[in-house]
C-alpha cells in the first residue's frame, strides 16, 4: 500500500514538474460587497500581466469580512481559496486550519513594505499567516462642529451634547472600543501566541489602580444622559459625536454636511483615550494542489501590493497598509484618515485575541451600561476587574 502511495506521489510530483508554473483551474475569492467590482478589475489585470495564469477561472463572491471568517471555520473545504477578513478573526482561522502561512518568497516583501502594526497583526508567533490589505481599522471621533465646541475633552463633549439634546455614541460594550479607556489609562491586555494558532500566555493588568481609573471613567460616561452605546453611524439617529471608523466616513459626511469634523479621541480624567489600531487582511486557504497554492499566493501578493492598495483607496477609500501608498498625497489629505493617523499615535496595534475575549468584554460593558457597577467602591471595582482578568486568563490554551 505504501509503495503504491509513494509511486502515486512520485507521479504526481513528475506531473507537477511537467506542467510547472501556471494554473488553469478554479479559484474562489470572498471579499466585502463594496470591493467585488474592484477586485474583479484587479484580477483581470493580474491575469493580463501573468500569462501563465490567463487560463485560471476566478469567481469573486461578496462575503463580508465577519461572515467570511465564520463560513470558513464552518466548512474549510467548501470555503473560498482567498478571502478578506479583519484581524480579530486571525487566531480563530489559524486554529481551525483555514489559513496557510504566507509563501516564504512573499513574506520578506510583506514585512518590508507594510507598516509595523500591520505586519505584527498578520503574525501568530513568528509565522506570517495573511497578507495585510488595509491599515484603517481604527476608531476616532467624528463630531458635529455646531454642537461640540471642544473635542479634546470628553467631559466637555458630553456637556455640549447634553446641552444641545444630541447624543454621544461609543460602543463601550465592545472589546474593541472598550480598550480606548483601559489602554489609555495605561493598562495592557495582550495574548502570546505560537506558530500553530494557540494562545500560550496572557499579559493583563486590568486589576490595578489604572484599571479602576479606566472603569470609573466608563461608568461616568455611561451615566451621562447623552451617552448611547453604539458605533454604527447609519443606525444612530441623533449624533452630536460618535466614536467610529473610516468605513462610516461617507455616512457621516452625508449626515453632518458642513458641520462634519473628525479628530483623535478626546482625553478623559487626565489621560488620552487610546485603543486598537486594526487591519484588514487577505488570507489563503491550505491547498492540496501545489500549482493552485502557487497561483493563490501570487494572486494574494498582487492584490495586496502597493499599486493595488492605492487603487483600492481611490476606488473605495480603504486606507492602505503599504508604507509607500500611505505617503501618497491623496491618502494624506483625507480628513477621516488624517484623524485616524493622529489617533494611531496613541493606539496599540491589535494582536491576537481569543473569540471569548470579545464576549467577556461585552459582558463587562453591559454591566457598566446596565448600571450594575454604579456606586461601587474602588475595592469592589477592583474585584470585578480581577474577575475579568482571571476569566480572560482561562482562555489561554493549556
Amino acid at each position: 500500500m505504501k509503495k503504491v502511495l509513494a509511486l502515486v506521489m512520485a507521479l504526481a510530483m513528475l506531473l507537477s514538474v511537467a506542467c510547472a508554473e501556471g494554473f488553469s483551474g478554479n479559484v474562489k475569492i470572498w471579499v466585502a460587497d463594496a470591493v467585488v467590482d474592484f477586485t474583479q478589475q484587479q484580477v483581470d489585470a493580474f491575469k493580463a500581466a501573468n500569462p501563465e495564469y490567463a487560463g485560471m477561472t476566478v469567481t469573486i463572491e461578496p462575503v463580508g469580512e465577519g461572515d467570511a471568517a465564520s463560513n470558513m471555520i464552518t466548512d474549510v473545504e467548501g470555503g473560498a481559496d482567498l478571502y478578506g477578513f479583519a484581524q480579530d478573526q486571525l487566531a480563530r482561522l489559524v486554529a481551525a486550519g483555514a489559513l496557510i502561512d504566507v509563501a516564504p518568497e512573499n513574506a520578506d516583501v510583506v514585512e518590508k513594505e507594510n507598516d509595523a502594526g500591520a505586519v505584527s497583526a498578520v503574525k501568530m508567533g513568528d509565522t506570517m499567516y495573511a497578507y495585510p490589505m488595509t491599515s484603517d481599522n481604527g476608531y476616532f471621533l467624528y463630531y458635529d462642529k455646531s454642537v461640540v465646541t471642544d473635542p479634546t475633552d470628553l467631559e466637555k463633549v458630553l456637556e455640549d451634547c447634553e446641552k444641545a439634546g444630541k447624543n454621544f455614541y461609543m460602543e463601550i460594550n465592545s472589546g474593541w472600543y472598550q480598550t480606548a479607556f483601559f489602554f489609555g489609562a495605561g493598562c495592557t491586555l495582550t495574548y502570546d501566541s505560537d506558530d500553530s494558532g494557540n494562545l500560550t500566555g496572557i499579559n493583563c493588568d486590568y486589576a490595578t489602580e489604572n484599571g479602576v481609573k479606566a472603569l470609573k471613567s466608563m461608568i461616568k460616561v455611561a451615566q451621562s444622559p447623552a451617552f448611547v452605546n453604539g458605533s454604527s453611524a447609519s443606525n444612530a439617529t441623533n449624533i452630536g459625536a460618535i466614536v467610529d471608523g473610516t468605513w462610516d466616513a461617507n455616512t457621516m459626511m452625508d449626515l453632518l454636511g458642513d458641520n462634519f469634523a473628525a479628530t483623535k479621541l478626546p482625553t478623559v480624567d487626565g489621560y488620552q483615550l487610546g485603543g486598537f489600531g486594526g487591519f484588514k487582511m487577505l488570507g489563503v486557504k491550505p491547498q492540496t494542489d501545489e500549482d493552485k497554492l502557487a497561483a493563490c499566493d501570487a494572486l494574494a501578493a498582487y492584490l495586496t501590493s502597493e499599486d493595488v492598495q492605492l487603487a483600492r483607496y481611490e476606488a473605495v477609500q480603504w486606507g492602505p497598509s503599504n508604507l509607500n501608498a500611505q505617503k501618497n498625497e491623496a491618502v494624506q489629505s483625507n480628513v477621516a484618515l488624517a484623524a485616524l493617523a493622529e489617533q494611531l499615535a496613541y493606539a496599540v496595534p491589535q494582536g491576537q485575541y481569543p473569540g471569548d475575549y470579545w464576549s467577556l468584554a461585552t459582558a463587562l460593558g453591559d454591566d457598566v451600561i446596565g448600571k450594575n457597577l454604579d456606586g461601587k467602591t474602588d475595592e469592589e471595582l477592583l474585584a470585578t476587574l480581577q474577575q475579568f482578568q482571571d476569566t480572560a486568563a482561562t482562555y489561554v490554551t493549556k
Binding site: 471555520i73 474549510v76 481551525a96 486550519g97 492540496t288 459582558a363 451600561i369 448600571k371
Partner: protein
C-alpha cells in the same frame, strides 16, 4: 375523605385538597412509568429471543435451499420460483457487501476513536488526515445500514421458512407479477410510505442521532475537521453544563432555563387571556365597527416579524423614538434602560410580544366564542349569574376545552421562540456573571444559536439541544395528561 366531607370544605381548602391529591399521585405515576419502561424493555428482549430461536429452528428444520439462503440471500426464493424476490434479496446483499468493503468498514473501524491520522504538511502542500466529522456521520450511516441488513436477512430467513411450509402443505407461492401487483393493492401503504420514510430518515433521524452523539465528543473551536481531529469524551460536556459554583456554565444554564420557562409561561398565558379578553370585548353586542377593530388588530399579522420586530427594537433603543419623545416632553431626564437592564429588557420583551400575540388569539377566540350556544348564557342570566360568573363557568371552561392542545403547543413553541428574542434583544444584555456568551434575555434556543454560529462550540450546543428536548418532553407529557380535552373527552359534545 368522603364526598360529603369534601363538599363542606371552603373553596381554597378544596383547591388545596385537590393539589395534595395530585402530589400524592406523582410518585406512583413515576414508579408506574419506570415499571412500564422496564416491562417494555423486557418485552423487547423476549421478542428478540423468540426471533433468534426461530432462526435456529428454521435452520434445523430447513431443507438445503433454506439453509443455503442463510449465506446467499434470496437463494431459497429463487429456487422456489419466486425469481423477483430472490433477485431483490441478492441485489441488496451485493450492494451491502460492496458498500461495506469499499466504504463502510473503513469508517466503522475508526468509529471508536473518530480518527487517528493527523493532518500534515508536505512542503507547502497540505495533506489532510482523518476527518472526524465524516467518520462520525458515515459511521452512523453504516451502523443504520448494518441494522437494515440484519432486518432484511431476518425477513429472508422467515420467507424461506414460510415458502417451505406453504409448498409442503400444497399451497402455491406468489409470482413476481403478483408481488408487483400487490404493491398497488393490499401493500399499497408501503408504496405510499416508502419515500416519506426515506426522507424522514435522511433529513430528520440521521441528523438527530448525529447531534446527540456530538454531545459526547469534544467537537469545538479547538477540534475542527478537516485539519484537527475530535474524539469521544463521555459525559464530560453534561458535567460542564450542569456543574455549579461561580460564573460558570452550570449557573448560566439554570439562569437561562429559568428565564426560558418564565418567558414561555407569560408569553403563552398573558397572550391567551388578553387575546380572549379583546375578542370578548369586540364580540359584545353594544360595540360598533367590529370589523374595523378586528382589521386594525390583524394588521400586525400582515407585517412580517422581521420588519416589525427590528423596527420596534430600534424604537425602544436608548436613542430611539420612545426615549426621544419622553425626553423631549421632559418626563424623564435620561433614557429608560429598555434593552440594557436585565429586568427592563425581560419585561419589555414580554410586553412587545403581547402586541404580536394578541391578534392571533383574538382571531382564534372570536371563532370559538361564536360557537358557544347562546342558550347557555340565556339560562345563566335567568338564574341571576353576573358577567364574571358566566365567564368563569361557561366561556372559560369551553375555551380551555377547545384550545387546550393549542395552549400546549404554543407553550412549547414559546420555549423555542427564536424570532422574537433574537430580533428584539439578541439575548442582550450580557453580564460578567454569565458564562458562554449568554445574555439575560437569551432563551436556550438563542444561546444554542450563538454557541454554534459565533463560538463554534458544537459540543455544548448539542448538550443544550438534548436538554431542551428533555424539558419540552416532560412538560408536554405532564400537561397533556392533565388537559380537560384529554381527561373528559365527552364534556362538550
Amino acid at each position: 375523605m368522603t364526598d360529603l366531607e369534601f363538599l363542606k370544605l371552603s373553596k381554597p381548602q378544596k383547591i388545596g385538597y385537590q393539589f395534595l391529591q395530585f402530589l400524592k399521585k406523582v410518585p406512583m405515576a413515576i414508579i408506574s412509568g419506570i415499571k412500564k419502561l422496564f416491562l417494555g424493555l423486557w418485552a423487547v428482549l423476549v421478542g428478540l429471543g423468540h426471533e433468534i430461536a426461530d432462526v435456529f429452528s428454521t435452520f434445523v428444520h430447513g431443507d438445503w435451499k433454506t439453509r443455503l439462503s442463510f449465506l446467499v440471500m434470496g437463494f431459497g426464493n429463487a429456487a422456489r420460483g419466486q425469481w423477483l424476490r430472490g433477485i431483490l434479496f441478492f441485489l441488496f446483499q451485493t450492494v451491502f457487501n460492496l458498500y461495506m468493503v469499499n466504504f463502510g468498514i473503513s469508517y466503522l473501524a475508526k468509529f471508536n476513536t473518530l480518527g487517528t491520522v493527523e493532518t500534515t504538511r508536505q512542503g507547502r502542500v497540505t495533506v489532510y488526515g482523518d476527518n472526524s466529522f465524516y467518520i462520525l456521520l458515515y459511521g452512523i450511516l453504516t451502523i443504520c445500514f448494518v441494522i437494515a441488513f440484519i432486518y432484511t436477512w431476518r425477513v429472508n430467513v422467515k420467507q424461506n421458512k414460510l415458502g417451505q411450509m406453504y409448498l409442503k402443505n400444497g399451497h402455491r407461492l406468489k409470482t413476481g407479477r403478483e408481488d408487483i401487483r400487490s404493491f398497488a393493492d393490499e401493500e399499497f401503504h408501503k408504496t405510499l410510505l416508502a419515500l416519506p420514510v426515506l426522507g424522514i430518515f435522511t433529513f430528520t433521524i440521521l441528523p438527530i442521532i448525529f447531534m446527540i452523539l456530538v454531545a459526547f465528543t469534544n467537537f469545538d473551536y479547538e477540534h475542527q475537521p478537516p485539519s484537527k481531529l475530535f474524539t469521544w469524551v463521555g459525559w464530560s460536556n453534561f458535567q460542564t453544563l450542569l456543574s455549579s459554583g461561580g460564573a460558570n456554565f452550570g449557573d448560566t444554564f439554570r439562569q437561562v432555563l429559568f428565564w426560558t420557562l418564565l418567558w414561555a409561561f407569560f408569553a403563552t398565558f398573558l397572550n391567551y387571556f388578553l387575546g380572549m379578553f379583546v375578542a370578548i370585548m369586540i364580540n359584545r353586542k353594544g360595540i360598533k365597527l367590529k370589523k374595523m377593530w378586528r382589521t386594525i388588530l390583524v394588521m400586525t399579522i400582515a407585517i412580517p416579524q422581521f420588519v416589525s420586530l427590528l423596527y420596534v427594537s430600534k424604537m425602544f433603543a436608548a436613542d430611539g423614538l420612545i426615549n426621544g419623545v419622553l425626553m423631549r416632553w421632559g418626563w424623564i431626564k435620561e433614557p429608560l434602560p429598555f434593552w440594557t437592564d436585565p429586568t427592563w429588557a425581560r419585561v419589555t420583551i414580554i410586553v412587545i410580544n403581547l402586541w404580536i400575540g394578541i391578534p392571533y388569539l383574538m382571531l382564534i377566540a372570536t371563532g370559538i366564542l361564536m360557537n358557544i350556544p347562546a342558550d347557555l348564557y340565556e339560562s345563566a342570566r335567568m338564574d341571576g349569574a353576573n358577567a364574571f360568573q358566566m365567564y368563569a363557568k361557561i366561556t372559560l371552561p369551553y375555551m380551555l376545552f377547545v384550545t387546550g392542545p393549542y395552549l400546549l403547543t404554543s407553550f412549547t413553541g414559546n420555549i423555542n421562540n427564536f424570532n422574537v428574542i433574537f430580533l428584539l434583544s439578541g439575548g442582550k444584555p450580557l453580564s460578567m456573571n454569565l458564562a458562554g456568551n449568554a445574555g439575560y434575555t437569551d432563551l436556550l434556543i438563542t444561546w444554542l444559536y450563538k454557541m454554534t454560529v459565533n463560538d463554534t462550540n458544537y459540543k455544548l450546543a448539542a448538550v443544550i439541544g438534548i436538554l431542551v428536548f428533555v424539558v419540552t418532553a416532560v412538560i408536554n407529557l405532564v400537561v397533556y395528561n392533565l388537559m380537560p380535552s384529554v381527561k373528559n373527552e365527552e364534556d362538550f359534545q
